[in-house]
Every structure is written in structure tokens, then in C-alpha cells.
Point group: C2
Chain length 193, copies 2
């Protein structure tokens, strides 16, 4: 028994609902202020969750932010469902660009980098695992409508990777930049030649 792996903790019931409620409050607060101004009392006030509960569960703001980053974008923002492939891709890309321009995006980048071990044999990060599944569902809806969606991997490489690269090494991408990346992706996959 000692070496058997612990089962992955799944979202469930009241505890998970409270977690999402607190995460949403932090997303809202981050949109209004920098991460340095976040405090447990402020999160308590906004979320309607008792300070004592917050201190018991996360101890301090840094641990709460780390928990949100671990939950990944799959938990902190829903994917669009506009009824067309281009509409979904543009709304998604513009959302990623906007998130990377704000404080939660920077925290997520920082956490992703901190999670990389400085060794040669590192495995894939789990931060985007759930998001990949959601993206597959979004593209599956397009296929069901008779459209020709790209693969998730191509969406990540052609659209999402440049958005992250810009956030790292340039000004964050604008909504227009994000839509141009979608043009590039759809030009490769679904426009007539």
C-alpha cells in the first residue's frame, strides 16, 4: 500500500464550489488592482467566504494564487460557443491575449516557469491538460456543424504560442493581433485555395 499512487483529487460538492467562488472573487479583484494589493480580508469581503475559512484552507494569498494557477485556465475562464468556428477561435484568442496582458496572466506565466524543473528529463506540464480537453470539445462542435476545424495542437502552436511569446518578449498582443493569428490558422486549414 505504501507505494500505491494517491488517486487524483476530483472536483466535488461544497468544497469545490467554495473554491470556485473564491477563485472568481480573486479574478475580479485582480482585474481591478495589482496582485500586490490582494489581501485575505479583501477576498473574504468580495467572495462572501469567512476569513477564517480562507486562512484555514490557503493560509496566505500566495498559496491561494498558486492554487488558482494550478487549477489552470480551464477553471478561471470558460471557452466560447458562438456557433461558428471562426467566432469561437477569435473569441478564444482575444480572451487569451487579454488575460496575458493582465496580472493573472503574468502570475500564470510565472507559475508555469517556476514549475519547470532544471533537469534534462522533464515531462509535460499539467497546467494545460484540462484546457486541451475543452479545446477539443470546442473544435468538435465545429466538426459536428460540418466545418473543418484544425487539430488542438495546431491551434496551440499557430495561435496560442505566439500570444505567450509576445507576452514574454514583447508588448502583449492586441485583440487585432489575436484575430490575425486566427486568420493564419484558418488560412492553413479551411479556406479555399
Amino acid at each position: 500500500m505504501v507505494n500505491s499512487p494517491r488517486p487524483m483529487r476530483r472536483p466535488h460538492g461544497r468544497s469545490e464550489r467554495l473554491r470556485e467562488q473564491v477563485h472568481r472573487a480573486v479574478v475580479d479583484l485582480l482585474a481591478e488592482r495589482g496582485p500586490d494589493e490582494l489581501t485575505i480580508p479583501l477576498v473574504a469581503e468580495r467572495s462572501g467566504v469567512h476569513q477564517a475559512t480562507l486562512y484555514r484552507r490557503w493560509g496566505k494569498i500566495a498559496a491561494l494564487l498558486q492554487d488558482m494557477v494550478q487549477a489552470g485556465p480551464a477553471r478561471t475562464s470558460a471557452l466560447p460557443d458562438t456557433g461558428t468556428l471562426r467566432g469561437d477561435l477569435e473569441a478564444y484568442a482575444v480572451g487569451v491575449a487579454g488575460s496575458l496582458a493582465g496580472p493573472l496572466g503574468v502570475l500564470m506565466l510565472r507559475a508555469a516557469v517556476d514549475a519547470i524543473p532544471a533537469t534534462a528529463d522533464r515531462g509535460p506540464s499539467t497546467v494545460l491538460a484540462e484546457r486541451r480537453v475543452q479545446l477539443g470539445e470546442m473544435l468538435g462542435r465545429a466538426r459536428d456543424r460540418g466545418e473543418s476545424p484544425p487539430a488542438v495542437a495546431d491551434l496551440l502552436e499557430v495561435v496560442v504560442a505566439p500570444l505567450y511569446f509576445r507576452a514574454l518578449f514583447d508588448r502583449p498582443a492586441s485583440a487585432q493581433d489575436a484575430r490575425q493569428l486566427v486568420d493564419r490558422l484558418l488560412g492553413d486549414y479551411s479556406s479555399p485555395r
Copy 2:
């Protein structure tokens, strides 16, 4: 006079040569060991520079690594000049992939992320500024040979951004992955349709 900007410090003479000599020693040592095992005495031994000089200039290993990261990839690895556009792009892409799989690449990612201010109105990072100039020169050589090179911005978006994205959120890209990204770039720009 008080408000006139200080001139940018340019590489010059003995001091800059010593800096490059020390940086090269650190690159070699990082290829052999993790960053946690680096010490000033070890760098002194490998570089042939006196410990006292290293302590006076950088104080500690963390400051030396930060200095290397600030110098950016433009200083720590030269660009290829193979005689063909595809050869140069493949050698460059494979080099970036290899570097991101190793400890210096992780340190560079970390430094790039740490340099992002958590505010809305952030400007472009300078880490890649010198590299962009070098890449422009590499692509200029292709144009001089009569080839049709892509723009630097497209090289960064189509090839380099996915390499960074993989290093952040997946296993680091292999040499073969890197070459496939070059195929995608050249398919867009110079192969016959």
C-alpha cells in the same frame, strides 16, 4: 546635465572580453551540471579568471547568471551561417530547442517572466532586441543569395514561439520537432505551390 540620458554601455575592450570568457565558462558548466551546483570557485577554475575578480564584478552566482540572461541569447550563442536559408533556419531552430531543454534555457525563461511588470502598460522586453538584429542579418544573407527569406517577425511567431510554448507547457521540442516548424515556415513563404 542632470536629466540627460546616460549613453548605453557598449561592449569594449578587456572588460567585455573577460565578461564573454566568464559567460562561456558558465555555459559549459551548465551543460555539465545543474545551476544549483555552480559556484564562483568553479567558474574561476573553468574560465581562468581570478576568484577575486569574479567576486568584485558579480558578487555571487545569482548576479552572474542574471547578467548572462540580460546579455541574452545574442551573446551566449552565435547564429549559423550554413550557406542556405533552410540550413540556417534548421540549425537555429534546433539550437533554440536544445537550449530551452537545458538549464540556461530555463533560467532565461524565468528571467524573462520575472522581468514582466504586473501592470497593464508594459513595454517590449529588451532580452531579444539584439537577437532580432542578428536574425535580420542572417535572413539578409539569404536574400543576398537570391533566396526568399521570411520576415524576422514571422520566423519568431511560426518557429520560435512554439519552441518556447513547448518548453513552458509540454516536453521541450526535439530536433525533429524544430525542423518541422521550419517546414511550416518555408511552406508559407518559399516553396512552390
